[in-house]
């Protein structure tokens, strides 16, 4: 029985693609008996290949499959490190209308035969790309950051998901800056949950090491020293049923941090 999960946000730049890469890599590495495929549905603006470090291996893409230029198997790219993990890349030179909702549903139906997890990276916006991304999904994860714009868009997306039969999406709050929360300049997790009225899947702290891991094309979930990586490992464990408390978001104590705390008191 496969799980088909769409990762969406409404707003761009909140970390959908990074979240997709980390969740997919995490799911494939905690259980080597499960096969995972990540689908990039951001046709025209593909990025998931870069975050995974697979950009040089693309031959065929999702549009080639629906147009019958290749078989599904030919377009799937195996991950460098994890042999259970695959990427189905978006086309870069086409546009969102190159794929229809019915074609997406059909594609996912075929992928179900081989994969345990099908994770769909949704483009920003609520137009055709969004409609395609949710067409074949049966669960949804909404990514937001603790700012008014992204939370407002998340609310709109949650409404649209529910109207399309994807009830009770789970929320990931990304790029949480604990020092700003302490100082009263960032909405707290509990405030956001109250406003959006959805279940929390995880909280990811702001972590500069994400930039380096994206530069390298190695998702942070594999980096034992990355705090964001730890947050993604927790999320993945929760997805497979483990009961893991939210991580402590405090920065590790350093003299600089103590000094900043003193100034901000």
């Amino acid at each position: 029985m496969s799980e088909v999960i769409v990762i969406t946000s409404g707003k761009g730049g909140v970390g959908k693609t990074t979240t997709t890469a980390n969740i997919g890599t995490g799911l494939a590495s905690i259980d080597s008996t499960k096969k995972v495929v990540l689908i990039d549905t951001d046709i025209g603006l593909r990025n998931l290949d870069l975050v995974l470090g697979l950009e040089n291996r693309i031959v065929y893409d999702i549009v080639d499959i629906v147009q019958g230029n290749c078989k599904i198997r030919q377009a799937l790219i195996r991950d460098k490190k994890n042999e259970n993990l695959f990427l189905l890349p978006a086309a870069q030179t086409k546009d969102k209308s190159s794929v229809s909702e019915a074609q997406m549903q059909d594609l996912i139906k075929n992928l179900r035969e081989e994969f345990d997890y099908i994770i769909i990276d949704c483009p920003a916006g609520i137009e055709q790309g969004f409609k395609n991304a949710i067409a074949g999904a049966e669960k949804a994860i909404v990514v937001t950051t603790p700012e008014i714009g992204p939370v407002r868009d998340a609310d709109r997306i949650i409404g649209l998901l529910e109207a399309n039969g994807l009830a009770q999406p789970k929320l990931i709050i990304n790029r949480v800056k604990q020092n700003l929360i302490k100082q009263g300049d960032m909405m707290e997790i509990i405030d956001i949950l109250e406003i959006l009225a959805v279940d929390l899947l995880g909280v990811v702290p702001e972590d500069e090491s994400i930039v380096a891991s994206t530069n390298r094309g190695e998702p942070a979930v594999l980096d034992q020293n990355s705090r964001a990586g730890q947050a993604y490992r927790n999320i993945v464990n929760r997805m497979v049923g483990a009961n893991i408390p939210l991580m402590d978001l405090e920065e590790k104590n350093s003299i600089w941090k103590k000094f900043k705390d003193f100034i901000n008191k």
Binding site: R152, R156, G159, G184, D185, M187, E188, I263
Partner: protein, 90 residues
Amino acid sequence: MFEFIEKLFGNKPASKSIAKERLRLVLIQDRSAMSPAMLDALKVDLIKVISEYMSIDIDALEVCLENENDSIALVCNIPILEMKRTKADN
């Protein structure tokens, strides 16, 4: 350092409370703008409840959301045809 002094005298509300309040208001608008179907469902339920107490002119009934400054109100205009003496049990 100025922020530090401002905080010391506490004359500026934390920006997170401003964010929360602005979001609360904007989401009422977003959500209310979203579905005419919800408004229709509300109308049907209103008619059901009010009819237990009075008979109303269903065709002339108006229900809408009105936006004024930073509050939103549900405004209903419901012409009454006849008052009932006791509550009718449906």
